[in-house]
């Protein structure tokens, strides 16, 4: 069953075989596998539980109820906005459906550089296949791309760059464009309508608006405690304690390390919260003569991976489309005042292409602030800054090749090109410092990284912490490096594999 905090009238005391903190890709998939294996599973989710009937496809409702910090989560210096879901289903409820396997060169780097075993392409193949089948992941036929995605395919093709459709986890999609605001049609096969209901069918219990604040480890069990929030006012209502021999932390690369740091667990390496990667993202906005209307149609169905790992250094960038919702557009456009407002009058004619940098030398860190919440910092270093600059230039060329009349970057000072000839010298003259260029992340990863060496990593190949047996981290925080692709399939596959291992070794894990 799924329990909303409105149904809770007093302190909650429960016990289970497995307590999972977080209900996104990592938590949801783990819950399903373990419940199907006959384990008593309790999931606690900080955010609320909403269904398609609650989704009105407005930014106001979605940001307020479905996103971390009402979509205002950012690094401490506000240089990078970090978009994450905060609801049952986690970020899968609000992502743009792109579903891609982990690139082979990434998995090979994990084996080579971090000693990760069991996660080669071949070993993950059955899990990728299972996830793809379960979530109806498929590529869209060419006629289904909206103008904003078609411009990537057309522009890249004209320039001789590789580009193609991307996999999407949808069924009977009506192409409304609301993926990022919660799908009102239940077409997106997000975790809240797939893994979670299937886990519940097998007896799992999901508590919504339950924020875990601490994990304690005793000789007999583990105890997850926290606060129950009123789902309307977000004010504390009561508290909860869940006891279980196995605890899975699946609260994302931002909040999983926060919970572990507050609990003083799993940090003998001193690496907890470090190694944060963002898949750092900026954008170029093309102004076209024709109507682009980037808010409508499938928001993300095409990409160009021409420049990912092109130099065989594990880095590079990737181009994708992005839904042009009005607030997202307003926040991204440069400047302020009348110039900004006039730019927004071009709204229906704007095509937006995002540049996602797979980090090589940059990283960040999550710590705990004085109020017990995440404090996020990030350092963009030279090599990745170089890829970002190159990506913005390539994105602008693709836009022009697809027919844009002018292209605008996300620099704070209006930086626009009226022809491809202007791109290089104008970008060379631009400032790229903190808050001088708009930067985003929807794919924070790596803060509880996996590895064979307990001195350099937090979890082992099965996502079990090196320090505490029976304590697992299963979410995007375990990836040793940036992925270079949207992470949901990677997280789901790792979760299914790790949860299977837990189920198969439960007696042993429990006995330790």
């Amino acid at each position: 069953m799924i329990v909303r905090s409105s149904e809770i009238n007093g302190p909650v005391r429960e016990s289970a075989d497995v307590c999972i903190v977080g209900s996104g890709c990592g938590g949801g998939a783990s819950a399903k596998v373990l419940a199907e294996a006959g384990k008593k599973v309790i999931v606690v989710e900080e955010g609320g539980y909403y269904t398609s009937k609650d989704f009105d496809a407005t930014e106001q409702t979605a940001y307020q109820h479905l996103y971390q910090q009402r979509a205002g989560q950012a690094t401490d210096d506000l240089a990078v906005t970090v978009l994450q879901g905060r609801c049952v289903g986690g970020s899968s409820t609000v992502n743009w459906t792109t579903s891609l396997r982990t690139p082979d060169f990434v998995l090979e780097a994990w084996r080579r550089d971090y000693g990760v075993r069991g996660l080669s392409s071949k070993e993950l193949e059955p899990y990728f296949e299972r996830v793809e089948r379960y979530l109806s992941i498929h590529n869209e036929p060419v006629e289904n791309h909206n103008p904003n995605n078609r411009l990537i395919l057309d522009g890249a093709k004209k320039l001789g760059f590789r580009a193609s459709a991307v996999g999407r986890n949808t069924k009977d999609c009506v192409k409304a464009g609301a993926c990022g605001l919660g799908c009102p049609y239940d077409a997106k096969q997000s975790v809240d309508i797939t893994y979670i209901p299937d886990a519940v069918k097998k007896g799992a219990t999901v508590f919504a608006n339950f924020r875990a604040n601490k994990i304690e480890v005793t000789s007999k069990t583990k105890r997850v405690s926290g606060i129950v929030f009123d789902h309307q006012t977000q004010k504390p209502k009561t508290n909860f304690i869940i006891e279980a021999p196995v605890v899975i932390v699946a609260a994302s690369a931002i909040n999983s390390p926060v919970l572990l740091l507050k609990s003083n667990l799993a940090n003998s390496s001193g690496e907890l919260g470090k190694n944060l990667t963002f898949h750092l993202t900026s954008a170029v906005l093309g102004v076209f003569d024709e109507i682009m209307y980037g808010a409508g149609g499938i928001p993300q169905s095409a990409m160009s991976d021409e420049f990912l790992n092109k130099n065989h250094d594990g880095g590079g960038f990737w181009l994708e489309a992005v839904p042009v919702y009005p607030t997202l557009a307003a926040l991204a456009l440069p400047g302020f005042g009348s110039i900004h407002r006039e730019l927004l009058h071009q709204y229906p004619h704007i095509g937006a292409t995002i540049i996602l940098v797979k980090e090589t030398d940059s990283n960040g860190r999550v710590t705990v602030n004085d109020h017990g919440r995440a404090s996020i910092s990030y350092t963009l270093r030279d090599k990745d800054l170089g890829y970002l600059k190159q990506g913005v230039a390539v994105g602008a060329r693709v836009q022009f090749a697809a027919g844009a009349k002018r292209v605008i970057t996300l620099h704070a000072r209006l930086t626009e090109f009226n022809s491809p000839d202007e791109i290089d010298h104008k970008l060379a003259a631009s400032n790229w410092g903190m808050n001088e260029i708009g930067l985003y992340s929807a794919h924070p990863l790596g803060t509880c990284r996996m590895g064979s060496d307990p001195r350099k990593s937090i979890v082992d190949d099965h996502c079990q912490t090196h320090d505490v047996k029976g304590l697992f981290v299963i979410d995007g925080s375990v990836t040793p490096t940036s992925l270079g692709v949207n992470p949901q399939v990677t997280i789901l596959a790792i979760a299914e594999k790790s949860a299977e291992w837990i189920a198969g070794n439960f007696t042993d894990i429990k006995a330790r």
Partner: protein, 184 residues
């Protein structure tokens, strides 16, 4: 290494960077500057959740310049209730963010700082429109990271409160999302 990214700017460091400002806050509060505010304070809604009445007016004044003045027939900041919406929004923000924003409104508006930053010994709310724009531009493009961060905070709250409201959509040609037939 990139000049602005080679050091980690945590919120704590951000606060430290602004501490020189805090040290002068008590001085700035003594300055005669806000005659215009006095009359307008009575217009501020009661029962604010986050802003003080004075902060409410400062924010509304900033939001008007950041969003841009409307053409005839277009909605403005007051039409959409941007400041009231921001008040409700910020009441739910991280307590650390709240602390910084309270601090920011004092620093941003105080004549001591407008003089320090812009050589004008007048509070922000009492500047002319073009002077306000010039002052905001200085924050946006400042060589000091904390001023650019502050500009970002003000821009994000202002624009979010305006463009999440359906009254702002017609002007830009946004038609809302395609909803299931029984919910249109």
């Amino acid at each position: 290494m990139n000049a602005f990214h080679d050091r980690v700017t945590t919120r704590r460091k951000f606060l430290k960077e602004t501490l020189f400002g805090v040290a002068f806050l008590s001085v700035s509060r003594l300055m005669p500057s806000e005659a215009l505010l006095a009359g307008e304070l009575s217009q501020v809604p009661k029962n604010l959740l986050f802003f003080s009445p004075r902060e409410y007016l400062i924010f509304e004044s900033v939001a008007e310049r950041i969003i841009g003045l409307p053409r005839p027939g277009q909605p403005g900041v007051k039409d959409v209730g941007v400041a009231s919406r921001a008040d409700e929004f910020l009441a739910g923000a991280d307590p650390e963010v709240q602390d910084q924003l309270h601090q920011l409104f004092t620093v941003f508006n105080a004549p001591f700082f407008t003089f320090l930053f812009d050589l004008r010994f007048v509070s922000f709310v009492n500047m002319s429109g073009p002077d306000k724009d010039s002052y905001i531009l200085d924050w946006m493009t400042s060589k000091f990271g904390f001023r650019r961060t502050a500009f970002q905070a003000l821009k994000r709250v202002s624009l979010s409160m305006f463009y999440t409201d359906s009254r702002s959509w017609k002007e830009i040609g946004y038609e809302g999302m395609f909803m299931p037939e029984d919910r249109r």
